[in-house]
Every structure is written in structure tokens, then in C-alpha cells.
């Protein structure tokens, strides 16, 4: 199949960027989206042009490294699918594709389609864990956990930290990402101890990183390749109120 591509090119964080146009005329429907870009890149190199830079690694939809906005959709048009798992059979011959990086103040563009998402790591850094050191922990079966609770925790823990939720949100909020970690840990007995303080720390860090606030658009839920539910944001908000009233922290 033939494709017309408009790809965001930007040489560095401070340089201005612009769309560049490319055409590919022998794309196989069995290719993944990133393999299509590989083919483009090999051609660019042979044509003495620098290839398009984009983050990617596992290409199995689990590492969270890849991500680009394709025709306005983070990770492209297919539901519950990362860019690397998107295949060209989802497109049609003659399609025109606009390919951009995640756009958010907290995610500066490093080059072309590659952005800096270290803000997400810093949100985890301030509280996205259970404070246990290695060793000296009880037997794994000492605390039974209901299957429903374990499943709910796992639903939230499935987040891959790709940042599509931020890219989709009109406010560039990281609420879904943050809420997923708060829920994953907060519903488990192991995470209960720090439940009140964790939420306050993480929300404060989210603000500090210049992510916006949640105003219930629900775009994050629709864009999330792992189906993380917007319900978790409600849970985060409830935990936040609970936390500041029961165990307020000063930062």
C-alpha cells in the first residue's frame, strides 16, 4: 500500500520543529507501524538524510518506550494498542498520516518524536512504592488478600508509563498515571500503611512537574493502551481528601 507521511522533525530541544513530508509506496499490511518507520529510515539513510528519531525497545507493547501521536490519536487509531503493536493492516492504501511527538509542557521534545518523560519517574520517586527494605519481610502467604482486591490492584498496576494519557489530555495532566500507582498500592494491605501520605506526595509532585489538573474529560482512559480506567482518578481524589484530613504532610 501507498502512504503519505507528515512527520514532525526537530533537531534538538531548543530548535524549532516542523512537519516534513515523505512518501512510501510499498508498505506491507503485515508490518508494524514502527517497522514501517524502519523502512522509511533505511531509505532516508541511503538518501543521505538523517533518520527519524523515536524511542522504542521491546516492540511487544509492554516497556512503554514508544509512543507517537498518529492523526491526532496517541498510539494511533486502534484501541488498547501501543504504537509498536499497531499494524499497517489498520490503515488503507493512500492514507495520509500526521505523526507527532507527545505534546505536553512536562514532556520536552528531545528530537523528532522523542520526548523526555523523566517527570513520571520523579512522581514515583516521592512515594510510588512500599517502604520495605530487602530482607526481613513476612512469609508471602502470611497476609491473605482477596482475589477481587488482587485483581483490582493488578488492573491498576498494568500501567506501562508510556505517557499517552498525558498526550491525550487537554490539560496535559498525569492524573491517570499517578492514580494508577496510587490504586495499585493503596488497595493492598502492604500499601495501606503509607496510603495517606503517598497520595499527597505524588499529587504535589505532579503539580510541581507542570502537569495540568484533571477536569474529567476522560481522554486518558480512551487513549490508554492498557485500559487503565478513569475510575482510578476518582479513587485518587477520594484518597487525597482522606489523606489531607487524617495525616496531612508538609513538603
Amino acid at each position: 500500500m501507498k502512504l503519505k507521511l507528515h512527520i514532525w522533525r526537530q533537531t534538538s530541544q531548543d530548535a524549532p520543529g516542523a512537519f516534513a513530508d515523505y512518501e512510501l509506496d510499498d508498505v506491507s499490511p503485515d508490518m508494524s507501524f514502527l517497522e514501517m518507520l524502519d523502512v522509511l529510515n533505511e531509505r532516508l539513510i541511503l538518501d543521505e538524510q538523517e533518520p527519524v528519531v523515536f524511542d522504542n525497545d521491546c516492540r511487544e507493547g509492554i516497556c512503554g518506550a514508544c509512543g507517537m501521536v498518529i492523526n491526532g490519536h496517541p498510539h494511533g487509531p486502534q484501541k488498547l494498542t501501543t504504537t509498536c503493536q499497531l499494524h499497517m493492516r489498520k490503515f488503507r492504501d493512500g492514507d495520509e498520516l500526521w505523526i507527532e511527538p507527545w505534546r505536553a509542557k512536562a514532556f520536552p521534545v528531545l528530537r523528532d518524536l522523542m520526548v523526555d518523560r523523566s517527570a513520571l519517574d520523579r512522581i514515583i520517586e516521592v512515594g510510588g512504592y512500599v517502604s520495605v527494605n530487602t530482607g526481613g519481610v513476612p512469609d508471602a502467604n502470611a497476609i491473605p488478600i482477596g482475589k477481587g482486591v488482587a485483581d483490582l490492584s493488578m488492573d491498576a498496576a498494568a500501567c506501562i508509563g508510556c505517557g499517552a494519557c498525558v498526550a491525550a489530555c487537554p490539560n496535559a495532566s498525569a492524573s491517570l498515571f499517578t492514580a494508577a500507582k496510587i490504586t495499585h498500592l493503596g488497595v493492598l494491605p502492604q500499601g495501606e500503611i503509607e496510603r495517606n501520605t503517598r497520595v499527597q506526595e505524588m499529587v504535589a509532585q505532579m503539580d510541581e512537574e507542570a502537569f495540568g489538573h484533571c477536569t474529567n474529560h476522560g481522554e486518558c482512559d480512551a487513549a490508554c493502551p492498557k485500559g487503565i480506567s478513569v475510575d482510578f482518578i476518582a479513587r485518587m481524589n477520594r484518597d487525597f481528601v482522606r489523606g489531607v484530613t487524617r495525616e496531612p504532610i508538609t513538603r
Binding site: 506491507s28 502467604n141 491473605p144
Partner: protein, 637 residues
């Protein structure tokens, strides 16, 4: 050089406890004065960095990804083994030890494997305490499944994303230490040289992948947790950026490379769809618990699967191995798939695919149960292939997946370079010639959480290390070498892309040193690799500059190392005149086509010493003693 594995004296079950007592300790007040570098942030690296920081060491951790959470451990699907015996089905530390030694086809070091089995139980406790959401039963206790050839249910899992959840546990522990100021995390940076001063590893030189800056970092000890080298085959289930560079550069600096020819080919991957293929996707082998592997009985049968009656199907694993059936270990499942496809029974065009059929399981258990067990895997399969595996059998074929070989380490996980420790898949230590399913996660976390925190202290407490800084001439020299190599790659401006060379290397390796090997093929590869390498250095095209993000340059450096490393792999495969585990030499098989070991001559670890690019490496042998498990022919019939 005499290889001393430093295996502690005493009965196998007491070695580790005794050794823990005998090792010297670092005074708690002095730990912060010791800097330790950890390279890699997967299960082994992240757990090691976090645990050592908790103890008080000053840790610096490096990874090439944008975040430590993205290391390739995250892609492990199936599960993690532990000898908890929660299912009351006869498991024990000794049984896990025994199964692992046997699964490794009697080519692993008993003492290491026993320690692994021992600490496996602590890993599960640790992960649960961190909040890893393992699967549970209705009563609230942990659920287990049988996995990859084990006859007890000892595998813990978190849906089909066990690696992800375990890595997030270790990553979160690491982030906590970063927040506490005990670990300095350096993402998007790649190790390009190891620096040795007065015989000991004292630091590394890295390239910042964003700015291109080359910088030196010094420490009292260096831990490599940089994963395996399956990407030497170009197409593998490894992540795109997984590479051999860190371990290979250590090898060039004097660390011995052990058993490189033990490369595991995973039986259940999605077959190649065309020349554009950039990687292969693994389908968890837990699928073999309920899926049945078959091909048409008649070679060349091109009917769709639902038109082939039962009587014309060959469930070859069930037929040949009645007691293990579809659950035979990976090497056996892979080789049998190759055998039936080579005989013309492939179910995909191009000749490389067999069916994995869930019709029986869906009939027996209902679609809902199958969905609960494998839902996400089925979805992934459908996304990639466009086929719905609830309705039509999956098509699978083996692909390079994991490498048992790695840098040689002693019982303390130290390489032949003092101070250079190697953890996880990057070392060779525990899996022998073949790794059992759900054992990689176990080993990575065992090394990081429960072995290195002890052994690093012993090294630091017993070594006299001069104070050095990055102004030392050895760092300057290493930086200069790195710059020269980078500049050389950018100056060639040839006609072929890096990927083009990598693909050709992959073809040479897969065809001659893949699932089965023979003398003629290996010798051919040893002629072709140097020729390709020479061409690479004359004709590769890397555009752009070194002072900015340059993914082609990163790739070129990695492929340049693979182009040298591939030769060691072939030398090792050539030397090992037997078939064992994942290493199958066609000259050495039984009349039934099973692997034939030669214990009298080959019960050793091959540890290779660098002798210059293009020169044959020198072989050193660590002889393996089996005092607790009797050498036997593996039989899964």
C-alpha cells in the same frame, strides 16, 4: 590462568549459610564511603542497586533506556519459580535444585544452583511485601501454576505480565533510594568502556545518548547487569536495543566469556512475516499448558486447519514424549518444531511454523477460562497476525530468546577481573546448557536482592583499593579510545546501513549456529563473519554527529561488537563436540535424534579469553563436579 570458582566447603545445603558467615563485613559506618556502579536496571540491576543502597553503599546506576522501568525484564510473561511448596505437591528446595541442574543438562555449577533454589523462597516474600500483585485464589492465598516442564506447581505469576510486575517492584524500590539520595540514576547513557586500574575494575566510561558527551565514573566495584546477547541473531525476542556491548567490552578487558554457545531458542514465538521483520514476538510458554502442538501428517498439506481431520494430524510432542507431552523443555520443543518443518510439514508459507491449538481446552474448560488464563496473549497474537486464536489455531515457531552463556563468574558473582561483578542474564552461572521456564526472573532477582548485597561487602572488606578519581590516566585513555571509535564510525560514510549489516550477521548466525549446528557450518560462519566485519568497517553508513542524539551511531557501536562476538560463539560451538541442552551438534545425537552428551570429555564450563580481534580466543576450563545429582540422560519420554 587457573579458574577458581571459590565454591565453599561443606554439604550442599549448608554452603551458602556457612559462606555468609565466613564472608567479611563492611562496618556500617564505612559503607557510605564505598561507591558501587551498577550498569543495567532490569531485575538484577535494579534489585542490586536498591538493595546495596539500602545497606548504605553509595550507588550509581546506569541504563540506556529513558527510564529504569523499561529494561527488557519487563517483557517476561509467564512467571517466577520458587520452592515454596504452597501447593503441597512435593516441591522442596532440593527438588527445584535437582530440576534446574537436570534441566540445564548437567552443565551448571551445583553450588550456585542450590543457592538459587534456596533464596527463591525469599524472593516471593520480598516481592509480595513490595506490593507485587501476584495472582491469588479465592481464599486469598497465592496461586501457582505448573510451567515449562515442571511436574510441580511452583510458578508464581501476575497474569501474563509477571516480568513487568516484578520489575516495577524493583524499580519502585530503586526510585525510593533515588529519592532518598542513596542512588544516583543515570538514564539514557551507554557503557562503552570498563576501566581497570592496578588489576581491578574501578569505573566505566559512558556516552550520554542525548548530548553525546563522553564521561568517566569511578567506583570501588562495578556490577554489570546488562542482559543477554540473543540479538546477535538479529531476529530474536529481545528488545531492539538489547546488546552485548557491556559484557563484550569487559571481555576485551580480560573478563572470560563462558559458554557463549548455550543460546536458548524459545519454542512459542510468532513466525516471521516478511523481510521487514524487526523482531520476533514471544507467546508465553504457559500456553503449552493448554495448547496442543501439531502439524499435518502429510508433508505439503496446505488445507486450512479446520479442514484437516484428527486422523491426519500429528501431535508430535504428545506422540514422542507421552509423559511430558506438550510440556517438554524448551530446547526439545524447539528442535522438534524445526525437525517437522524441515521435513516439509510447516503450516506457514516459507516453511517455518507449526500449530498451537486451543480447541480442546476451550471445549473442556470453556472460552471464559481460557480467556482468564491467556486473554492478553490472545489479544496480542490477534493484533500482530490478524487471526483470532479462539477460532483458529495459533501459528508458532522457535526464536532466539535467552542466552545461558555470559561472563564467567565465581560463586561470589565476580568475573576474572577483580571488582567486576556480573549479575542476571549477563553472567553464565545458574542455567547450565538450558534454562527452565520461569527461572530467569528467579535468577535475576536472586543475584540482585540476595547474593550481591552479601558478596560485594566481602570484596570491599578484603580488598586494598587505592583512592582513584576520574583524572587517572586510565580514564583518559579509555575516553580517548571511545572517542576514536565513535569518530571512525562516523567517518566511513559507506553505502550500507547498520541494519543491513546486522541482518546479514543474523542470517549467518541463525543458519550456521542456530537451533542445530555442525562442524562444516560453524567453520563456514567463522570465514564469513570476519569478511562481513571487514566490509562493515569499510562500507557502513552512519550519518549525523556524535554530539547529539544519534540512534544509528548507537546501533553501529553495538553491531560492531556483535560482529566480533559472533566469532566467539562459533568457536565455542565448534569446541563443544557434544549435544547438550540448547547446544545441538548434529554429529552427536542418538539414533532417535535426541541430544547425546559426552560427559567424560565435556563436563566443563568453557571460559574464553580474548586474544585480539580476529584471533581465536584461548579456552580455559572449569571442571564441574556433580556430588548431589547423578549425571543421567535427560528423558522426557
Amino acid at each position: 590462568m587457573e579458574l577458581d570458582a571459590k565454591i565453599p566447603e561443606g554439604p550442599i545445603a549448608e554452603k551458602w549459610d556457612q559462606h555468609r558467615f565466613e564472608m567479611k563485613l563492611v562496618n556500617p559506618a564505612n559503607k557510605r564511603k564505598h561507591e558501587v556502579i551498577v550498569v543495567g536496571s532490569g531485575l538484577a540491576g535494579a534489585s542490586a542497586a536498591a538493595s546495596m543502597a539500602e545497606l548504605g553503599y553509595d550507588v550509581k546506576c546506569f541504563c540506556f533506556q529513558d527510564s529504569p522501568r523499561r529494561a527488557h525484564s519487563i517483557a517476561a510473561q509467564g512467571g517466577i519459580n520458587a520452592a515454596k511448596n504452597y501447593q503441597n505437591d512435593g516441591d522442596s528446595v532440593f527438588r527445584l535444585f535437582y530440576d534446574t541442574v537436570k534441566g540445564g543438562d548437567f552443565r551448571s555449577r551445583e553450588a550456585n544452583v542450590h543457592r538459587l533454589a534456596q533464596v527463591s523462597v525469599n524472593i516471593i516474600d520480598q516481592c509480595v511485601a513490595q506490593g507485587v500483585p501476584f495472582a491469588r485464589e479465592y481464599g486469598g492465598l497465592l496461586s501457582n501454576r505448573s510451567f515449562g516442564g515442571a511436574q510441580v506447581s511452583r510458578t508464581f505469576y501476575a497474569r501474563g505480565q509477571t516480568g513487568q510486575q516484578l520489575l516495577l517492584g524493583a524499580y519502585q524500590a530503586l526510585q525510593r533510594q533515588i529519592g532518598a539520595g542513596k542512588v544516583k540514576m543515570v538514564p539514557r547513557s551507554e557503557l562503552l568502556e570498563i576501566v581497570i586500574i592496578e588489576g581491578a575494575a574501578r569505573g566505566i566510561v559512558v556516552r550520554d545518548l542525548v548530548t553525546g558527551e563522553i564521561s568517566s565514573h569511578c567506583a570501588d566495584a562495578v556490577c554489570l547487569a546488562t542482559g543477554g546477547y540473543a540479538n546477535v541473531f538479529y531476529l530474536s525476542t529481545n528488545a531492539m536495543n538489547s546488546n552485548v556491548t557491556a559484557t563484550y567490552r569487559a571481555y576485551k578487558k580480560g573478563a572470560f566469556f563462558a559458554n557463549p554457545c548455550y543460546t536458548q531458542i524459545h519454542p512459542t514465538c510468532i513466525p516471521v512475516s516478511g523481510d521487514h521483520q524487526s523482531k520476533l514476538t514471544l507467546m508465553s510458554e504457559s500456553l503449552r499448558n493448554d495448547g496442543r502442538v501439531w502439524v499435518p501428517k502429510n508433508a505439503g498439506d496446505t488445507r486450512p486447519p479446520d479442514r484437516i481431520p484428527e486422523s491426519e494430524r500429528d501431535y508430535y510432542l504428545e506422540r514422542k514424549y507421552p509423559s511430558f507431552g506438550n510440556l517438554v523443555p524448551r530446547d526439545i520443543a524447539s528442535r522438534n518444531a524445526k525437525e517437522v518443518c524441515d521435513a516439509g510439514h510447516s503450516v506457514v508459507p516459507g516453511g517455518h511454523g507449526v500449530y498451537l491449538d486451543f480447541a480442546d481446552a476451550i471445549g473442556r474448560l470453556g472460552q471464559k477460562t481460557i480467556e482468564e488464563r491467556y486473554g492478553n496473549l490472545f489479544e496480542m497474537y490477534e493484533r500482530i497476525t490478524g487471526d483470532n486464536p479462539y477460532r483458529t489455531p495459533m501459528k508458532i515457531y522457535p526464536a532466539p530468546h535467552y542466552t545461558m552463556g555470559g561472563l564467567w563468574v565465581d560463586y561470589n558473582l565476580m568475573s576474572t577481573i577483580p571488582g567486576l561483578h556480573v549479575l542476571g542474564e549477563a553472567n553464565f552461572s545458574d542455567h547450565g546448557a538450558n534454562r527452565l521456564g520461569a527461572s530467569a526472573l528467579m535468577q535475576g532477582l536472586a543475584d540482585g536482592y540476595f547474593v550481591i548485597p552479601y558478596t560485594i561487602g566481602h570484596y570491599l572488606a578484603t580488598s586494598k583499593l587505592e583512592k582513584v578519581d576520574t583524572g587517572h590516566a586510565a580514564f583518559r585513555d579509555a575516553e580517548r579510545e571511545v572517542r576514536e571509535k565513535t569518530d571512525r564510525l562516523l567517518e566511513i560514510r559507506g553505502r550500507r546501513t547498520v541494519d543491513d549489516f546486522h541482518r546479514e550477521l543474523g542470517r549467518i548466525m541463525w543458519n550456521n549456529c542456530g537451533m542445530s549446528r555442525n562442524k562444516a557450518g560453524l567453520e563456514k560462519a567463522l570465514e564469513e563473519i570476519p569478511r562481513l566485519r571487514e566490509e562493515f568497517w569499510k562500507d557502513v553508513r552512519v550519518l549525523g554527529a556524535s554530539e547529539s542524539i544519534n540512534q544509528s551511531l548507537e546501533k553501529a557501536g553495538r553491531v560492531a561488537d556483535f560482529l566480533e562476538f559472533g566469532e566467539i560463539l562459533c568457536h565455542d560451538a565448534l569446541d563443544r563436540e557434544e549435544s547438550c541442552g540448547a547446544h545441538f551438534r548434529e554429529e552427536h545425537q542418538t539414533e532417535e535424534g535426541e541430544a547425546l552428551r559426552h560427559d567424560e570429555d565435556y563436563t566443563y564450563v568453557s571460559a574464553w579469553e580474548y586474544k585480539g580481534v580476529g584471533n581465536a580466543p584461548a579456552l580455559h576450563k572449569e571442571h564441574l563436579e556433580f556430588e548431589n545429582v547423578h549425571l543421567a540422560t535427560r528423558s522426557y519420554k
